[in-house]
């Protein structure tokens, strides 16, 4: 569906304790995305912000970046979810025929909050919250279930961390470029067995912006528009106990929808590069299965084969992924921005040669309860 294109992207450098305010970070990426697209703020006819009251520590948190993103001047809305959902809302506004150019901005200052408390609040207040569940220990349950059901090893998960932190060395925006070994990961401090420190994404502050346009505008303003070929999103059951945590049904459904729209039948062959939401090392393996890059339970074998490395047939997370920078609300939008850079041939040292079709993916809720998948093409 070559109707909506992404014509500009921008990211801050991701770091802990960024002294910039929410608004300053949002302003930086708004300005840079406009520069990247060759537009001015007057060309933007609607905006979508992505703010979350818990992570931002205030109510109506979209107010923090309303002015910085020019949202006070044009129709606007705020999606509270991963940045990929914000991009989806932006695409909907353009597909309606009522708007021509959408600015989508997501930001997070994770270092200002207490992630364990904020993510504890996603669990049922009566039955589950008092157990102390949070993003890390609930994911530990998922990793354990995935390992035991499919025979995945901690070493295989560690390989994801080694690969992605190494990839991050070629990404100037990344928070955690690291030269580490599987042994380093395995010996790092246990946070919630079997998750260790180096299996975990960092606490990052940062923002990301993308500018989308309808086809007539995109063709006029951009020599290399990146087209949105397909989008799909889906949510699984809420209570962890209602799910088999080793399964990825919602992602399968979201991917099927996105692939159907994009006409993708054989994702491994047809997709050249993927940016997926690897909040923990094991997640990349599970998401590859859900995205149909390999069979169920074959994520471990896939990382062993080197296929998802920079020189493999399907590089996954050349940017270093979320393991190397995790500005929560912005992390999925950053996956889209990185995929766009790949397709434009502007990914510099992390460029996958000749990439023409890319996939970007975001998650929502505990243990990937919700997923949003974008297929982009040149």
């Amino acid at each position: 569906m070559d109707e909506v294109a992404i014509i500009g992207v921008a990211q801050t450098r991701y770091q802990r304790d960024n002294p910039a305010s929410h608004a300053e970070m949002a302003y930086e990426v708004t300005r840079k995305a406009l520069e990247d697209a060759g537009l001015t703020i007057d060309d933007i006819d609607n905006t979508v912000t992505v703010c979350n009251d818990f992570w931002d520590g205030r109510t109506i948190s979209c107010m923090t970046i309303t002015e910085a993103t020019g949202s006070h001047k044009v129709p606007t809305t705020n999606v509270e979810g991963d940045g990929t959902y914000g991009a989806l809302m932006g695409a909907m506004r353009l597909l309606s025929g009522l708007h021509e150019v959408t600015l989508v901005v997501a930001q997070s200052k994770v270092s200002e909050g207490i992630p364990a408390v904020i993510t504890n609040a996603m669990f049922d207040p009566v039955y589950e919250r008092s157990l102390g569940l949070d993003a890390i220990n609930s994911s530990a349950l998922q990793m354990r279930r995935y390992m035991s059901k499919y025979g995945i090893t901690e070493e295989q998960c560690a390989k994801v961390s080694v690969k992605n932190h190494k990839n991050a060395k070629s990404n100037p925006y990344a928070h955690m470029p690291l030269d580490i070994t599987v042994d380093d990961v395995l010996k790092s401090r246990v946070l919630a067995d079997p998750i260790k420190l180096l299996d975990t994404s960092p606490v990052s502050d940062g923002a990301c912006a993308i500018i989308m346009a309808v086809d007539e505008v995109a063709k006029k303003r951009c020599s290399k528009p990146v087209w949105i070929r397909g989008i799909g999103h889906c949510a699984d059951a809420y209570h962890l106990g209602d799910r088999d945590l080793a399964e990825v049904d919602a992602l399968v459904s979201a991917a099927r929808r996105a692939y159907g729209m994009a006409g993708i039948q054989d994702p491994v062959r047809e997709i050249d590069v993927a940016e997926v939401y690897d909040a923990f090392s094991y997640m990349e393996l599970m998401w590859m299965e859900g995205l149909g890059f390999c069979g169920r339970g074959e994520g471990g074998a896939m990382i062993d084969s080197g296929m998802t490395g920079m020189n493999g047939a399907l590089p996954v997370n050349p940017s270093g992924g979320v393991l190397s920078a995790h500005p929560v609300q912005a992390a999925g939008l950053a996956r889209i921005a990185e995929a766009v850079l790949q397709l434009k041939g502007k990914a510099d040292a992390r460029q996958v040669e000749g990439a023409t079709v890319a996939l970007a993916h975001g998650i929502e809720g505990a243990c990937g309860q919700g997923h949003c998948v974008f297929v982009l093409g040149r």
Partner: protein, 388 residues
């Protein structure tokens, strides 16, 4: 607009101050079931869901995910939209865009709030800048009071004018809306004698906070026509989130955000003479004072003419342009649902399904949302796909 969008179903809970029978997911489930029943649809027909509330009223993070058990969103596309007081109207607009985009054919929009779970004003006060503004603990009432003081001084409006709005809305709720939260008839004298909360606003001038949910089903043109005999077509939408700091100027005697949003929606819908073209209005009036002043921003009267319009009775049931037959926000305010209730109630009017509160022959309706920092959303609906 590439794809025409119609509302085919509306459902809501019986709203109350503190619903001890239901937790949030159950409130949502009741509204969803009623919306589906009203359109004779089932969850199988629903292609996607959009939901909204304000996080700090219940302290539940990722409500889109948490609500799956109540919304019916298991293994469906679902996302959350939240913009403060305008959340309900923003959720409605997001539902509209889901269908207008052509990506989804039948979409469930849900607004809900269980305000009894929190201290509403404390939660609202954290919307202001933590360094420069939060310590004033502004909440929502003070700025509205300041606005009416300025309006009274500039245009000679009175506290009694505001009381007339309060009487109109409360009595509509009491007489015509079985779902409303506050259902007692009141008099101007009772409003005037109620205690001051923030001059010139008295207890009976301001909205309650409620527990409740609302669900509205949006459908593409073909599906809408197949589903119900007379859908409520969305002819225009506008939203304007104009300010961040109150001190930047809330438009002391008017509502600039509503003016701009109305301009956008009217242009899209072809509304040129709103007072004559609208048959009924469901306005997000968080305080009776706003019911006097904001009609100007909608172009329903000239600047400063709000009091004259209210005193004349044309906005009462049976008048030329009934406003808030449902009783509006002054009677019912489950915040994340409030803006969506306006859209839902306006839709019921043009669908001819408003029952006791039906305005005879209503064909064109307007619904508004208010919140954030004096922000406005607006929706124009009609029983016809275009204005005749």
């Amino acid at each position: 607009m590439k794809n025409r969008v119609g509302i085919v179903g509306v459902g809501q809970t019986h709203h109350k101050s503190k619903n001890t029978d239901c937790k949030g997911q159950e409130l949502i489930s009741i509204a969803v079931k009623r919306a589906l029943e009203s359109a004779d649809l089932t969850m199988v027909d629903i292609d996607a869901i959009v939901i909204g509330n304000m996080d700090h009223f219940e302290s539940i993070n990722y409500v889109d995910m948490w609500s799956v058990d109540g919304s019916g969103g298991y293994m469906k596309p679902i996302m959350k939209v939240t913009t403060g007081g305008t959340t309900g109207s923003a959720v409605g607009h997001a539902g509209f865009y889901h269908v207008a985009s052509g990506l989804f054919d039948t979409v469930l929009a849900i607004g809900w709030e269980q305000n009894s779970e929190s201290d509403t004003t404390a939660a609202i006060s954290t919307c202001f800048d933590p360094i420069t503004e939060r310590e004033f603990c502004g909440g929502a009432i003070g700025p509205l009071a300041a606005q009416y003081t300025a309006y009274m001084s500039k245009y000679g409006a009175t506290e009694e004018d505001a009381a007339l709005v309060s009487v109109r809305d409360h009595n509509n709720a009491a007489l015509y809306n079985p779902y409303a939260h506050l259902r007692q008839t009141i008099t101007v004298e009772e409003v005037m004698k109620s205690p001051y909360i923030s001059y010139p606003m008295k207890l009976l001038d301001i909205c309650p906070r409620s527990d409740g949910a609302c669900a509205v089903i949006f459908a593409g043109e073909d599906k809408a026509k197949k589903t119900v005999e007379r859908p409520a077509w969305i002819l225009g939408v506008g939203d304007c989130h104009i300010l961040v700091h109150l001190a930047d100027g809330i438009g002391l005697a008017n509502l600039p955000s509503l003016e701009r949003a109305a301009r956008e929606a009217y242009e899209m819908a072809g509304i040129t003479d709103p007072f004559r073209q609208f048959d009924v209005a469901e306005l997000y009036v968080p305080a009776s004072t706003a019911g006097v002043t904001w009609m100007e921003a909608l172009g329903l009267c000239e600047e400063g003419e709000g009091p004259r319009l209210i005193r004349s009775g044309v906005t009462n049931m049976g008048g030329e342009l009934p406003i808030n037959p449902s009783g509006g926000v002054l009677a019912t305010n489950p915040i994340g649902a409030t803006g969506l209730l306006r859209i839902g109630e306006a839709a019921l009017q043009v669908m001819g399904k408003a029952e006791e509160k039906q305005v005879e022959g209503a064909r064109v309706a307007v619904a508004t949302g208010f919140g954030g920092c004096f922000w406005s959303d607006i929706t124009v609906l009609s029983s016809s796909t275009q204005l005749g």
